[in-house]
């Protein structure tokens, strides 16, 4: 149950948004109870909670009465029973959270609601789910909306971020590929005398090149394990040292084992691919080129 209204306090009148929730259900989406830093949630009629910013601006505290000018022009007094901080300034400044009956009263709508909000697990499928829902409801007077359509610029920002992070990953992979390849190629040159004698002693070209493929593979295995271990180490440090005042990490950590396995696989695959060039050099090496006695 939403609708605009005005809040009248001593110095000024500000525009606010009345949000009448089914408090227990809305809590699942907005975590109202968790973000309440003073008082309690509105339970009875004419009880409201306001955001930190609005509370500071208007000077309203718990137990005060807020004077609301309804869209119809009437005045209603509501009791502030709690203060919340949803960590978004625009919400903290404008939302006046109350229960559905109170909101219906203020906005003069009997027994009706203005919207149903829902949260989906797969947040990036919101538009598809919305489309499904709109099809299922098939009601011309119901408008189905979703966060992706409402936040096009945010979405393109997120998109740009993920594209640039993918680019970084690709270039890091190329750099690693070149690095391993050149290290092994130098090692072929350094070991050319030993390779030459091994070839004179009858090692097959295929085996001579396999030496470097195995070396690449081993580098890949060691690299993958070290990388994953280092990643976890940094993650643990990050959760330990980069924390909010209340002790929770600044960025919540989410461990995706599938992605870790994929990264490990990429490390292995890139090291093996990188070893193919030196393996070829090793295979082509001619023993007489190496064993020259003047």
């Amino acid at each position: 149950m939403d609708g605009p209204s005005n809040l009248d306090y001593e110095e000024d009148i500000v525009q606010i948004l009345i949000r009448g929730f089914n408090i227990d259900d809305a809590d699942k989406i907005y975590k109202i109870k968790d973000n309440l830093y003073q008082g309690r949630t509105p339970q009875g009629k004419d009880e409201i909670i306001i955001g930190r910013d609005l509370s500071i601006k208007s000077g309203l505290k718990i137990g005060d009465d807020a004077l609301i000018i309804t869209p119809g022009g009437g005045n209603i007094r509501l009791e502030v029973v709690g203060l919340y901080d949803l960590q978004v300034a625009s919400i903290n400044e404008t939302w006046l959270i109350t229960n559905i009956e109170t909101a219906q009263d203020i906005l003069a709508i009997d027994d009706k609601i203005t919207s149903v909000e829902m949260q989906v697990r797969k947040e990036f499928d919101a538009d598809i789910i919305a489309e499904d829902l709109s099809y299922t409801l098939s009601q011309a007077n119901l408008q189905v909306d979703n966060w992706k359509d409402q936040n096009q610029s945010l979405l393109s920002g997120l998109n740009g971020q993920s594209v640039s992070s993918a680019m970084i990953q690709v270039f890091v992979l190329v750099a690693v590929l070149l690095g391993i390849s050149s290290v092994l190629a130098i090692s072929v040159v350094q070991k050319s005398r030993q390779l030459g004698i091994l070839k004179a002693m009858g090692i097959q070209d295929r085996d001579a090149s396999l030496i470097f493929v195995f070396q690449g593979l081993m580098l890949g295995v060691i690299g993958a394990f070290l990388g994953i271990a280092l990643g976890f180490g940094l993650l643990i440090m990050f959760t330990k040292f980069a924390v909010n005042p209340d002790g929770t990490p600044v960025v919540p950590i989410y461990i995706n084992y599938g992605f870790i396995a994929l990264s490990g696989f990429f490390a292995l695959a890139s090291a093996t691919i990188a070893s193919l060039i030196p393996a070829r050099i090793s295979s082509k090496l001619n023993p007489i080129e190496v064993i020259k006695n003047g």
Binding site: G196, M201, I291, N293
Partner: protein
């Protein structure tokens, strides 16, 4: 006695644009169990000749027979097997693998064809190391030995697969004269004990004079061939 190595009308030309002919119609046979030396000035073509015998290089023209079968027509993979089974190489530089011990280096040519080291081959490696006088240092890394010890390890390595032919290119070129004497007497012992055919390139006339046959190469041709 049967010929173990036969070279027929061997020509060798290097280079694509500017051609340099280093060997001219070489005809040469080596008998089984022989102890032969090839001498000649540097650039005379003696190393090229040895590389052709050892199948490391191919002649531009002519035929090469090793132990009765023609080798200049074989592919690289077949040649690798032939080299591994019938030939041992000793070079001026030992080319031991520095990551391995003397004994592991000696076993290397066997390892190339066989994954497992049998007790028999293990004992044979010990016997060879004993023969070249390295029993005490056989578990040393290749880098932890003197130059003479390293070269003797290379000799033992050349013998591990019981090859019929040992090809040596200036095997003592890097050693002092006393050590050279020791190395030559070892080669001689092996020749007598295991009846291995030796072809040794040397520029040291004193050493060459101790062999059964001296072949001198000059400007890509056989200048002198003396048997004793």
């Amino acid at each position: 006695m049967a010929n173990i190595i036969e070279l027929k009308d061997i020509d060798k030309v290097y280079g694509e644009k500017i051609k340099t002919q280093v060997l001219f119609g070489i005809n040469l046979e080596f008998e089984e169990k022989g102890f032969n030396s090839i001498i000649g000035e540097s650039g005379s073509g003696k190393s090229t000749l040895l590389n052709i015998i050892g199948t490391l290089d191919k002649p531009t023209d002519g035929k090469v027979f090793i132990d009765g079968s023609r080798t200049d027509t074989l592919n690289k993979s077949e040649l690798a097997v032939l080299r591994n089974k019938t030939m041992g190489f000793i070079f001026q530089f030992h080319y031991l693998l520095p990551e391995f011990t003397a004994k592991e280096n000696v076993l290397m040519p066997y390892r190339i064809q066989n994954y497992n080291i049998t007790e028999e081959i293990d004992n044979w490696a010990d016997e060879l190391l004993d023969l070249v006088g390295l029993t005490k240092v056989k578990n040393n890394l290749a880098t932890d030995m003197s130059g003479g010890q390293q070269q003797r390890t290379a000799i033992a390595r050349a013998l591990i697969n019981k090859p019929k032919i040992i090809l040596a290119d200036e095997p003592t070129g890097n050693l002092d004269s006393d050590t050279s004497e020791t190395v030559y007497s070892i080669l001689r012992d092996i020749n007598e004990k295991y009846k291995t055919t030796f072809v040794i390139i040397t520029h040291d006339k004193r050493i060459a004079e101790k062999t059964d046959r001296i072949i001198e190469i000059k400007d890509g041709k056989i200048n002198m061939d003396v048997r004793r």
